[in-house]
């Protein structure tokens, strides 16, 4: 409880410091939406041209895209500097965080809280539109809305676990940019499309090694296409919990062997 209070306090301070540069905030919000929009258009163009892929309609793929984008927004808002841990390792700035009377991870997560307004509005808009279209056609009912919110949060935990585990490797390798490209960027881009597009071995990676499949594809199979059963959501939650526990244990092992740059 005390930790949550401190975390919220630090986040408020972080937001306040960011809002000192109002123009920069609005400018970055606007440009971030444009960047995101163009990323989505790249997916949409393919769908419009071919009227869906691998048996998934435009709105279904829009759902996959926006759900994982929103999960990323939650993860990157709350834990931006977990993704940037290697900067702290290279500069030795992690020493300062270690001196604080807080768990290292909480101290790191409260640094540079970002309000990703542009991304939220853009992905949220697409999600709302896709849900509306899918409901109007009778494919899904209103329970899909609360379930989707749950899926977004569950996905955020999965993406956080993946991000944390990747960043932790930095305690051994220092620079993890290349790895992050693979585990965070490439896998998330891949998960914007139905996973049946990919060959079996790659699909296996997205299920068992970098489990992005459980962030959007697996839950969508139940919510949108009524396949298998409600247990798919339970399985996704199980993967999120297991992933988080494993990533936290790995983080503790990594942080224990941290050596400063000594500069």
């Amino acid at each position: 409880m005390r930790l949550t209070r401190i975390f919220l306090l630090l986040i408020r301070a972080s937001v306040k410091s960011r809002m000192q540069y109002r123009f920069n905030f609005w400018m970055s919000t606007l440009l971030a939406s444009l960047v995101n929009m163009s990323e989505f258009l790249m997916v949409a163009v393919v769908l419009l041209r071919f009227g869906g892929v691998a048996g998934w309609s435009l709105y279904e793929v829009g759902y996959l895209y926006s759900v994982i984008s929103l999960s990323r927004v939650v993860y990157r808002s709350l834990a931006n500097d977990v993704h940037n841990l290697d900067r702290y390792l290279v500069s030795g700035d992690l020493d300062q965080l270690l001196l604080r009377p807080l768990p290292l991870l909480v101290a790191l997560m409260s640094q540079n809280f970002r309000i990703l307004l542009g991304e939220t509005l853009q992905s949220g808009g697409i999600l709302a539109y896709c849900l509306y279209k899918l409901t109007a056609s009778g494919q899904i009912g209103w329970p899909a809305v609360p379930l989707t919110l749950w899926i977004v949060l569950n996905g955020a935990v999965i993406l956080f676990a993946i991000g944390l585990a990747t960043a932790t490797i930095g305690f051994w390798m220092t620079k993890v940019e290349v790895l992050q490209t693979l585990t965070e960027d490439a896998s998330r881009s891949a998960a914007q499309y139905p996973l049946t597009l990919y060959p079996g071995w790659l699909r296996g990676i997205f299920f068992f090694v970098i489990p992005v499949a459980f962030a959007n594809y697996v839950p969508a199979l139940y919510v949108l296409r009524h396949e298998y059963g409600l247990w798919l959501l339970a399985a996704s939650a199980g993967v999120a919990c297991l992933g988080l526990a494993a990533a936290l244990a790995f983080w503790r092992a990594g942080a224990a062997r941290y050596q400063s740059t000594g500069s």
Binding site: L34, V35, V45, L182, L197
Partner: protein, 258 residues
Amino acid sequence: MLFAVLVRKAYRVNLQYRSSHLIHNLASSLFGFMYIFIWMGIGRTHELEGYGVKGMVAYVGFTQAALWVTTFATFGLGIPERVRTGQIALDLMRPVSLFYQTAVREWGQVAYQFLYKTIPIYLIYFFVFSLPLPSRPWTYAGTLAALAIGAFLIICIQYLVGIVSLWTTESLWFHWLNYALSMLLSGFFVPVEWLPPWLRAVSLHSFYPYLQYHPVKIYLEQESATVLGGGLLWCALLAGASAGATVLARRRVEVQGG
């Protein structure tokens, strides 16, 4: 003379990290594999008009390799960092235009990336997917010319992105905006003719197709090198804009700290 020296130096700086870059190549090629699998997946149920599955694999293989020459240039050609440290004041004092010095340095980087990124990455796709090679010798010359034009264009664009940092601290966002637009409009991943009409019109009225689309079409022998005339026109326009921005930048410079 100065041109050759600066290009050589920039090339040598990069050479120090070549083994790390070669490992990086394996990672970046995986991104391309993903795009290729997407097209293979779509090709199972749809006809990929004008290309076929093999053609699209060759298309993505080439654009993924060409990215390193015509898209992934240094953010702002390093100018934002120089503005932050105050080094820009010294750069502007030099008896050579800022555009010339930064552009020439980038050419060294482009040469390095062509040899140590574009070619190895292309070779990976070439062997994994048994990609076809162009049959006409002229195609190679045309492709190299197209890549050189693309590289010149991206250098000008990054210069303009960089020089904006003299007036605002947000130049990074222009970099991201350019990156996003180039992903969509340059024909990387989706050929320009498959874009919806309004987006196709935007693309064809911009310089973006000269970064990826025209080079790959020339390489696949689906277009003749004469289309590069338009690219040269864009080169002249953007070089003019860059020169103009340099004149503006020299008028008054405020450097923080120091």
